[in-house]
Symmetry: C2
Subunit: 168 residues, 2 copies
């Protein structure tokens, strides 16, 4: 992956692949579809997209700024980070473009941050979370996205207008 | 990761991490829970575990044996590979240990195969699938598992006996 040190480049490949499959899974969805709740304890697909974006933001702060979220940041990101009741109350009524813009904005900062760092940085213990290094943090970001993409595919298949190409 | 060349070692780390989280997600499940269908088009959690094991088998054949599945292998793996109606008909009535044994057996062969190969092999185009290299094949194996683990977590939360520690 040009522009990155080798191990960071592999991670970037994983992050970009995960994102491409997420965006493919939600392509063309309407506001009503993005807001749909499969059952009372479900998260909407829109809320899952918001979650993916704020997880990425929180790992930027943890790894690039080497700090925990401030209480203001925590409060702002909380509904999408934790999902559940607050997410169901607040994360709705937005078109796909809204979520995609948040995802794109987050991703741009991630790629800039990773391009400016190297593989030695990647393996160092994080100041703000010493049990973790940036490699795990960024792998986990992709892994959490893939986990939720699995849920998005499952949920979308149950909408009236399913994906035209079915993927398991 | 000791015993592997560097890039293979990173992949092995991802594979082991994915598996650990899958096994945590199904810990303690009964046959009835493993067989439960959330709705008529759902795959049971047991069927998803069977799927994860046969996906791993099929990528062993593709990358280590450098060939496509024979028609006999294809027929044998098909219900768990494709899931859907045949999976719902055939993949049931088994205790968790059955699925875990299949997963462990598949994983042992994967780790042996990867330990016997190197990073140069990892990047070579696959004879039986020239658009792909082994790196992508094994990343995709982990990625597909994580995708389905997301579904397993979602499905398990909706059983009468949910996971004691909730994970999104």
């Amino acid at each position: 992956m040009a522009g990155y040190t080798p191990a960071i480049g592999r991670l970037v490949g994983i992050l970009l692949y995960a994102r491409r499959t997420t965006l493919a899974a939600v392509d063309g969805m309407s506001v009503a579809e993005l807001d749909h709740l499969q059952d009372p304890s479900s998260n909407s697909i829109g809320a899952l997209l918001a979650h993916i974006a704020v997880v990425e933001r929180s790992y930027q702060i943890l790894t690039f700024e080497e700090r925990r979220l401030t209480s203001e940041e925590q409060a702002a990101l909380e509904p999408a980070l934790t999902l559940g009741d607050e997410g169901r109350r607040l994360l709705k009524g937005k078109p796909l473009e809204h979520y995609v813009r948040d995802l794109d904005d987050a991703r741009r900062l991630t790629l800039e941050g990773l391009a400016a760092r190297d593989d030695e940085w990647l393996e160092r213990s994080l100041t703000a979370a010493p049990a973790m290094n940036a490699h795990f943090a960024w792998f986990h970001t992709a892994e959490d996205e893939i986990n939720h993409r699995g849920q998005i595919r499952w949920l979308r298949k149950r909408l009236v207008t399913p994906l035209s190409h079915s993927e398991s």
